[in-house]
Structure formats: structure tokens, C-alpha cells
């Protein structure tokens, strides 16, 4: 039985795909985190984002996070899906879904997965503003 679903997609992500993947008869809790594109950052108006990925390494790092979640927490299945390319306002940038027998481990695993993804997965976000663009987090 497949317990991990790891994906980078240049087309819109489906929350339901991630949810359907993790659902399991032994699990009473399904925890989803959905990251979307907001219209403001540090007082500036954002028009859209562009995600660049080092895809083979990013998939490996996402797979490691899934393995860590399955090892550290009592969770059954996990999906980590991330967008690449142009992502507009309100569109989904990332979906993480976790199923667990009980909710506490689901919440913890979901938080661990998104926090670790932001630190280790080689994906870069370029934020496009009304008056320019910049790579998020690149400069001091």
C-alpha cells in the first residue's frame, strides 16, 4: 500500500486529490494544510508568484519529510503537493494532507511537514509586485 504521495505540478493543485489519497479506514483524523497566494506582503501589493524548482532534488527532500512524519508521528498516510510556475492570487501553492487515527499526531505532522518544507526543499518563490519583483528570502 502506497503511504506517500509526493508531487510537483505546473498545473493547479487539487485539495481533493490529496485528501482522497490519505483517507484510510483506520484513521479518524485528516489534517490538511493549504498554502495560498495572498495579495499583500510587507505592505506591498502582490500580483502573483512564480515558483522555480530543482525538481529531482525537491522531490527527494519532500520524500524525506514524508518519511520523517511517518516515523516521528502516529500517522498512516501523507501527501505533499507543491506548485511550480506562475501562481495567481488565491491559488494554491502547496497542499499537505495527513491521516492519523487520532487528531493530535495529525496536527503535529502537518505542521512539521510545512515548517520543514520551508527550510529544506529547493523551491524558490519570486514575488511579483505592482512595481517590480524579487526572490523571497534571498537578501539580508
Amino acid at each position: 500500500m502506497e503511504v506517500k504521495s509526493i508531487k510537483i505540478s505546473d498545473t493547479p493543485l487539487s485539495i481533493d486529490d490529496a485528501y482522497q489519497f490519505v483517507q484510510d479506514v483506520s484513521c479518524g483524523g485528516n489534517c490538511l494544510f493549504v498554502g495560498t497566494v495572498r495579495n499583500k506582503n510587507k505592505g506591498k501589493t502582490v500580483t502573483h508568484l512564480n515558483f522555480e524548482t530543482y525538481e529531482p532534488m525537491a522531490l527527494k527532500e519532500m520524500d524525506k519529510i514524508a518519511d520523517q512524519c511517518l516515523e516521528k508521528f502516529e500517522v498512516k498516510k501523507i501527501a505533499i503537493h507543491h506548485r511550480s510556475g506562475h501562481v495567481g492570487l488565491k491559488e494554491i501553492a502547496v497542499v499537505i494532507a495527513v491521516s492519523s487515527p487520532h487528531r493530535a499526531d495529525g496536527f503535529m505532522a502537518c505542521q512539521y511537514a510545512i515548517d520543514t518544507l520551508k527550510e529544506t526543499v529547493p523551491i524558490w518563490k519570486k514575488e511579483h509586485l505592482e512595481d517590480g519583483s524579487y526572490w523571497v528570502g534571498a537578501r539580508p
Binding site: 498554502g35 530543482y54 518544507l117 526572490w135 534571498a138
Partner: protein
């Protein structure tokens, strides 16, 4: 010849999606110094990691011509 993949802000600094170094082997630390020397703009960013064969590498690691090498500027997924 060592070919180094470049992403995000590193791709914009190098002005290409790869950088070629006329060496047959060197350490990650030496590669780092070579990059700062050829492109001083690297000192304007928060730093970068080097990946060798799709794994984060330490400064002491050796790189040879057959390795897949990449500059990993600060990541910002999610």
C-alpha cells in the same frame, strides 16, 4: 570540467542556468570561493548551499567532473 546548476537568485547572478568551471576536481569550499571570486554579487545575498548529486553537501566534500552540482540559494517554498 565541472558544470554547476543555478537556480533562483543564483541563476540571475550567473545570468545562465549553469556555470562551468575548468577544473576536474575541487572541494565544496573551493567551489564556494571560486563563485565569490568570479561573481562578487554572491556576497549581496544571504549565502547559499551547494548540493552534490541532489544532496546538501558539507564544505569538506570533494566534487569531481561526473557529479551533479547545484547552487542552492536560500529556499522559499510553501
Amino acid at each position: 570540467m565541472i558544470k554547476v546548476k543555478c537556480f533562483g537568485v543564483a541563476r540571475e547572478i550567473i545570468k545562465s542556468d549553469y556555470f562551468e568551471l575548468n577544473r576536474s576536481d575541487l572541494s565544496v569550499k573551493e567551489l564556494r570561493s571560486a563563485l565569490y571570486e568570479s561573481h562578487p554579487e554572491f556576497s549581496m545575498i544571504k549565502g547559499f548551499m551547494i548540493a552534490v548529486n541532489q544532496e546538501y553537501a558539507t564544505d569538506e566534500m570533494a566534487i569531481t567532473a561526473n557529479d551533479e552540482v547545484a547552487i542552492i540559494p536560500p529556499v522559499s517554498g510553501g
